[in-house]
Amino acid sequence: MAFEVVIRSKNMVLVSYLNPLSEEGRGIVRTLGGLEEISLDNDDLMNIVIHTNRQTISNQDVVPETIVDLAINRIKWYIERKNNKEFNPNDYSYFFNEALAEYDTIAFHILAQAIANKFRPGSREVKLFVESQGLMIEDRLTKLPLSDRKELVEEILSDLLIQDGIKWSFLKDLIATKKLSLTDLVLENGEIVLDREEFVNTFDDKFSDRSPERVYDILIGDNLRELILTKLLMQNTENYIKSIQDQLSMVEMHPAIVELGEMLDETITETLARYSTFYASGGTYGNMEIGKLIKEAFPPCIANTVEGVSSGGRNDAIVLLLTSFVSYARLYPGIFASDRTVKVSDIDTNLNITLNEILPLIYEAADNCNPPLFEDQPQEKINIISKLGFGMHDEVNLENEGETKWYTPMSCEKIKMHLPQLCRENKDCAKINNPLSYYSRKKWIIAKNGELSSKKASSEDSAD
């Protein structure tokens, strides 16, 4: 297949080069005869690839022969680009060849469908795809000639933002999901200041020692516009995946897409495993094994909780934070990288660990509180059981499992807000966003440095 009729915009560069979800992009997808074509050798595609400047052609692994290859390579490119210290940009030069835009648009759409079909919402793979799209946009922008770049950004932004005065609340989903920080924006009366003239008019009197135009160029200029554009397109990609997933029960996915999903599963696992160090195969925290609790690896917030909390934060610290932390740290530290929905009994089949290790530690911490938690609030025992997934009962019982959800530990950010008295960051907290991640990492460091006693180390791998 070759694109004879392309819907070119005013720009030399297609809008869908950055925004495959644009009307233009959807139009390109409609030109595809049938999904059978995506697995067929495509001479036109190969021709574009091998004639791309500086493209490596000696390595067959990186040269796509079909649109399916192109889609898979999009993901490979991202993982390599992020993780490979010896990454050779020439291996994937074709992704930055604007002539590839139509094929790339189709690759994006089939990838989205395959990922939506194969993986659950919010999974590592969905996140990886959304992030790959973000990085692809960023890299493409930096490689475009400046004039094309400005024009394209302007055109796409005016499509996405519709109105001139953009209220910050229009971007609230991006802000809530931390794709964009309010602190990066210049706000005035609820609107984001993006226009140079408006900036100068609004803030002229604030600058005495430098020109407001220059400050505009640095604070906002093209940087902020591009940031907003990239994050909006990432959000739209995520929404697109969600919308496909919402329709999955009503639509049967084409076998070619199903097959692509299987291939992606294999590719992602294999490629990520190549770059994981302590995270082990399967990606971030993927195959962290269960093991005895190592208190030396507890983050400060958990260590402080175990020592006891004074009234005011006792309930949340013990019931919400410690219960979920201890149970996952002991039984399933890799939860955040996992696709599986797990129950306590999947790992602790006869509940021996829960009864003999997890609950005693939680109860001890509750007793260390001032005043002791159960003294005036014995009902919290039931809440603890419920947070482990065993319903509102005063004892852990297999037959009640699943009545409630097995809670995961709250993030560092939530701890800072909910239980600020417990958060005493140390140097190991840097770049950690959940106490469980801290624990997994610290445990690995301790084991690596041989700081664990041989007894502890040997019991580490024994699953009870």
């Binding site: 609340s169 609230k172 802000i175 809530a176 602190t183 706000l187 609107e191 200029g221 807000m417 239980l419």
Partner: protein
């Protein structure tokens, strides 16, 4: 402040002084959608999930029970009796004078000075909520020991906890502003800017709050990340900040310690506001117009936050009479 109210004083307050007209409109309107909670004995609000058909039934309840404390949910529910069918919730900032990590008084609980400083912080937050974020329908409530900023702007009423947390970080100054800005020119070096050299947007909010904190340091605070020596130096060199001479201030503190200070101040800023109240979608807050029995003060709406004086607007009549009796006895 004025000591705990007796049951007789509470009864007098609700029977003789309290009127449904004291309820702010934002409370009276939609009252049937809110959950009420009461503390009858001074042990915390354990009489929860109450619902009133209108202000009349609330009035009867208050007159009859004369509760130690009365609370109302920030949330609106389809079925408030069971906290079912959550529809929306006010967005709230709780600034308690006694919990301010930096305050120039050294009182045990709450005094005129720290209440005044809490109100100054409220006013600064108001400026950012209105001026930067353009939020409307904002009400300030004096709670008895501090202030609640209650926001009924539709943008925030339907926001989830995450968005509430992000707005909180912005308004509180809880993040250190970035110091490096990218250069779009390929190969161009990034630009470095300290927060104080950008007099607009978030860096300006952060700078103002850090300045306020430093100018109100006593020198004996215990602040996470700031050791005694640094604390003493912050106090020693704070005069530079009256003139906004941040360059000299930083030079005297030293770049490494300055960085420590900035990080610590971001934490102080967050601790100034009770963040868990802000991100909570189902919180109950002290009912405006009700009595804070622990301190014998009224919880009232602040009409003018620039001039509000709690000792003028929030003291129930029985306190004056109580004082008179004391005076007479003496």
């Amino acid at each position: 402040m004025f000591g705990t109210s007796t049951i007789q004083e509470r009864r007098r307050y609700y029977r003789e002084e309290w009127s449904e007209k004291d309820l702010p409109d934002f409370i009276s309107n939609g009252i049937t959608k809110r959950e009420f909670g009461f503390d009858h004995l001074g042990h915390g609000p354990n009489d929860r999930y109450k619902v009133f058909k209108g202000t009349d039934t609330l009035k009867r309840f208050l007159r009859y029970k004369a509760p130690f404390a009365a609370y109302i949910s920030v949330a609106f529910y389809a079925n408030p009796h069971k906290r079912g069918g959550w529809e929306k919730a006010e967005y709230v900032f709780d600034i308690d004078a006694k919990d301010l990590p930096i305050r120039s008084c050294n009182c045990d609980g709450v005094c005129e000075i720290c209440l005044g400083e809490a109100l100054e912080r409220v006013n600064a937050i108001l400026d950012d909520l209105k001026g930067d974020l353009g939020l409307k329908d904002i009400h300030i409530i004096y709670s008895g020991r501090g202030f609640h900023i209650r926001i009924l702007d539709p943008i925030m009423m339907e926001a989830n906890s995450e968005l509430r947390g992000e707005v909180l970080k912005y308004v509180a100054g809880a993040e250190v502003p970035k110091a490096q800005y990218p250069n779009i020119v390929p190969g161009g070096k990034p630009y470095n800017f300290e927060h104080f050299s950008i007099p607009i947007a978030y860096p300006a909010i952060f700078t103002e709050k850090v300045k306020y904190n430093i100018l109100h340091l006593r020198g004996d605070e215990e602040l996470d990340g700031i050791n005694n020596r640094l604390l003493k130096d912050l106090v020693k060199y704070k005069n530079y900040l009256y003139e906004d001479d941040w360059g000299s201030f930083k030079k005297n503190i030293g770049p490494r310690r300055y960085k420590d200070m900035v990080n610590a101040m971001a934490r102080v800023n967050l601790a100034t506001i009770d963040a868990k109240v802000t991100i909570d979608l189902k919180r109950i807050l002290r009912l405006p117009s009700s009595l804070h029995s622990k301190v014998s003060m009224k919880c009232v709406e602040v009409k003018n936050p620039e001039t509000f004086d709690p000792f003028k607007y929030a003291v129930p009549k029985f306190v004056y009479e109580r004082k008179d009796e004391n005076i007479a006895e003496n």
